[in-house]
């Protein structure tokens, strides 16, 4: 992890790091939303769709910092 953006290769196909970080961010946001629904915590939110988008962005940025620099 040197913090320099680098592409991912899957079977010789190059994928941009933002795409990978974005996919991971959406998956993590989806998983968080699932947990919030399960424990009825989402009822405290004003507008969950917007929270989902915010979570996806936050997770994407966090993944960018920690795992996949883009």
């Amino acid at each position: 992890m040197n913090g320099i953006p680098s592409e991912f290769t899957v079977g010789g196909v190059y994928l941009p790091p933002l795409l990978v970080a974005g996919c991971l961010g959406v998956l993590l946001a989806y998983w968080t939303a699932h947990l919030l629904n399960r424990y009825r915590l989402s009822r405290h939110l004003f507008y969950p769709p917007l929270v989902f988008v915010a979570l996806a962005v936050l997770y994407t940025v966090a993944v960018g910092y920690v795992l996949v620099p883009f």
């Binding site: 795409l19 629904n37 009822r43 939110l45 769709p49 929270v51």
Partner: protein, 723 residues
């Protein structure tokens, strides 16, 4: 469909799919997958259904092509006028698509083909006409090839299905009539199993409509008497509605000796029994059937006088519905006799006996609010897709404009199907097709190999998938494999196509918030709000003050009446879509009871409004103005509160208020009727008691709704959650 039939159908579709590609490629036609689309979409179990859908596809393609040429001619260099015209066309065709179920597919094609042709060559308009011609030719060819295969290879015919379906419909109508008759004669409890019987008739009516379209496309004999079959269908629908309205008031007759008040009742039911018994025989051609005799339902005035005012009102309401029932069954039997060639047919259009008088006719079109919203959603998605394309140009490029609009059409057609649920199936099927594109297709060197691949893909799709799933797989096969006359392999383009498909469905999901929250429980709350607002408005129009009604008021009344009639079916559809896992406290049965109570409220409101048409300035109602006004304003206020909060009125308190109101009003009525009896004509008396019955019916139905609403945990449905 059993496994053998499924296998045969899958083989037929796979064969037609491979064949149309072969023909298009042999002649070097532009975009052979256009013909493949035609086969994938019209592949239906019977030849009649396929012919009908194929015909609509071809006919819809023509206005779509023409609209694209006109739009391009009017706005060749101006992107905003281009966008405006396209969105206007998309809005119009989408509205017609959702509001005209019989020709829905025609309008789907008119919209979709216009978007396809507009973008057939985005660099210039040089090849646009050529594209429109090829699109039409290849659609015709695809339809023709599949039709020939459907007709000659293991044909599945519809012939005779209409007779079978009409006999089943007649049997279901007989059951519903018998249930009402037995309830009225005190032989069974009110509302026992009525919902089940009603659901069965609705199902049989839907089957009949489908069979009529399919066999009408396949059989010349059926097509020549199509008008009569359509009349039979409309009469059956009206009969169902009248039976439901009749049934909704039977609980109020339980403590009345109806045989005393209506001495002709046995003869009346005997005639109706005869008609219902004769109907299936005439439809099957086993009996010529005698023409229906007149059945009258006179009231014994002396027995009627002994009843309380509200019981007299209940008798008047039931009698009116039974007269409608009599007229409808006579018309239905006459129609069946005409179909069997036993009664002289006339070229004139016969009047259709309707369940009730329709008030406040307006010359202006009365749109359905949900249809307008759906059309706006499709137009907005197309417009925003266009802006995304020209401003950001992400992977998918012009597909943001064309494909987003097309998928939005699907969402508008089935609003209960959630766009978010489509994302994963689309991603999986697209990735499988991408793998075929990368590893299998480059190995193919002749049409034999390609044809075999296409046959296998479509065969597996048709054998294992159905409904929306089959559509998605077909979309993946046709969009990702991208078969062209001069095949070029570009992995990046196809990977972008997969990415675009997934992003397009996400975009659709975001845009679906235009229609409101896509959560079904929220949709139910929204519809209930609209329902009670319309009910409140219509009640407010009923103030017993004679007044001039302006053209705008007439239009608003017609609009709210339409809302009232259409909302129970929408509530039922959304109620079924609620995910029970998330709301274990609210059972599906409770939701069903709620919908049933709403439907009963619609019937009672309609009866009330119809009674009011003939009695606005009636002297009797003037005498009772104060009492009636109090009741009237009370009901209006209750509907207003329910619009804001469906559980606003606890049932016990409401029952108590209505009961005390009824006792007070009954005393007033007795006094006024005794004073005015000599001056009152018989018709005036009947109309007055119909109006009274209308008030009581609405009150009883409101109580039933309050009871159904009380057991539902509304706060749970209102809670915010991720959808």
């Amino acid at each position: 469909m059993n496994k053998t039939t499924k296998l045969k159908e899958a083989i037929k579709t796979g064969l037609a799919f491979a064949l149309v590609f072969g023909i298009a490629m042999q002649f070097g036609w532009m975009n052979p997958y256009w013909a493949g689309w035609a086969v994938a979409v019209i592949a239906l179990p019977t030849a009649g259904e396929a012919i009908r859908k194929g015909t609509l596809r071809v006919l819809g393609t023509i206005p779509g092509c023409l609209a694209a040429l006109v739009i391009h001619a009017l706005a060749p260099q101006d992107r905003w006028i281009f966008l405006l015209l396209t969105c206007a066309w998309v809005f119009g065709t989408s509205y017609l698509m959702v509001s005209r179920p019989k020709t829905s597919y025609f309008w789907v094609m008119a919209c979709y083909v216009c978007l396809v042709i507009l973008l057939s060559d985005i660099d210039s308009s040089e090849n646009m006409f050529e594209s429109a011609v090829f699109r039409t030719v290849e659609t015709v060819m695809g339809v023709l090839v599949y039709t020939l295969i459907a007709v000659f290879v293991w044909p599945q015919t519809n012939l005779g299905a209409i007779k079978k379906s009409s006999a089943e419909l007649a049997a279901a109508l007989t059951d519903i009539y018998r249930a009402g008759r037995d309830t009225m004669l005190g032989q069974r409890a009110a509302e026992t199993a009525f919902q089940g019987l009603q659901g069965k008739v609705v199902q049989k009516l839907a089957q009949f409509a489908q069979v009529l379209q399919a066999e009408g496309s396949e059989s010349y004999e059926v097509n020549t008497v199509r008008q009569l079959w359509e009349r039979f269908q409309r009469l059956s629908t009206n009969l169902l509605e009248t039976a439901a309205r009749w049934q909704s008031g039977l609980a109020e007759l339980e403590r009345i000796d109806v045989r005393m008040v209506l001495p002709d009742l046995p003869a009346f039911f005997s005639e109706l029994d005869f008609r219902f018994a004769t109907l299936p025989e005439v439809l099957a051609g086993r009996s010529p059937g005698d023409p229906p005799r007149t059945a009258r339902l006179e009231v014994d005035s002396a027995a009627l006088q002994r009843l309380s005012s509200f019981d007299r009102a209940a008798i008047e309401v039931a009698r009116k519905e039974m007269e409608h029932l009599e007229a409808l069954t006579a018309a239905l039997l006459e129609c069946a006799r005409e179909l069997g060639g036993r009664a002289p047919g006339t070229s004139e259009t016969k009047p259709m006996p309707a369940p009730g008088v329709r008030d406040q006719a307006t010359r202006f079109p009365v749109p359905d609010w949900d249809h307008v919203r759906s059309a706006f959603f499709v137009a907005a998605t197309t417009g925003v897709g266009f802006l995304i394309w020209i401003l950001f140009d992400p992977p998918g490029h012009s597909g943001w404009f064309q494909l987003s609009g097309t998928i939005a059409l699907m969402v508008a057609l089935c609003p209960q199907v959630r766009a978010s649920r489509m994302i994963i199936p689309v991603a999986v099927t697209s990735l499988i097709c991408l793998a075929i594109y990368v590893w299998v297709m480059p190995q193919l060197s002749s049409f034999l190999g390609l044809g075999l691949l296409l046959f296998t893909c479509m065969f597996l799709n048709c054998y294992f998938m159905s409904g929306m799933g089959r559509f998605f797989v077909s979309m993946a096969i046709l969009n990702i494999l991208q078969i062209q006359n001069h095949q070029v392999y570009a992995f990046a383009a196809m990977a972008n196509a997969v990415l675009f498909l997934v992003m397009a469905f996400m975009f659709l999901y975001v845009m679906s918030y235009i229609l409101g929250s896509p959560r079904p429980e929220k949709a139910v709350l929204r519809l209930l709000d609209r329902f009670f607002r319309s009910a409140e408005f219509l009640m407010s129009r009923k103030a017993p003050e004679p007044e001039q009604v302006s053209g705008l008021d007439r239009w608003r009344i017609a609009f709210h009446q339409r809302q009232l009639r259409s909302l129970p079916a929408k509530l039922a559809a959304w109620g079924k879509a609620i995910d029970r896992k998330h709301f274990p406290e609210n059972t599906p049965e409770q939701a069903q009871v709620l919908v049933t109570s709403i439907q009963a409220l619609v019937y009672r409101l309609e009866q009330f409004l119809e009674a009011g048409v003939v009695l606005r300035a009636e002297p009797l109602s003037r005498e009772l103005r104060e009492g009636i006004m109090t009741w009237h304003v009370g009901l209006e206020a209750i509907f207003g509160r329910w619009a804001r909060n469906p559980e606003a009125e606890p049932v016990a308190a409401l029952r108590q208020r209505l009961k005390s109101g009824l006792i007070r009003l009954e005393a007033q009525i007795e006094e006024v009727v005794n004073q005015a009896e000599e001056d009152m004509t018989r018709e005036e008396g009947e109309n007055f008691f119909r109006l009274l019955g209308g008030y009581r019916g609405v009150s009883e139905a409101a109580l039933a709704y309050a009871g159904a609403a009380q057991v539902i945990n509304w706060s749970y449905w209102r809670e915010e959650r991720f959808s």
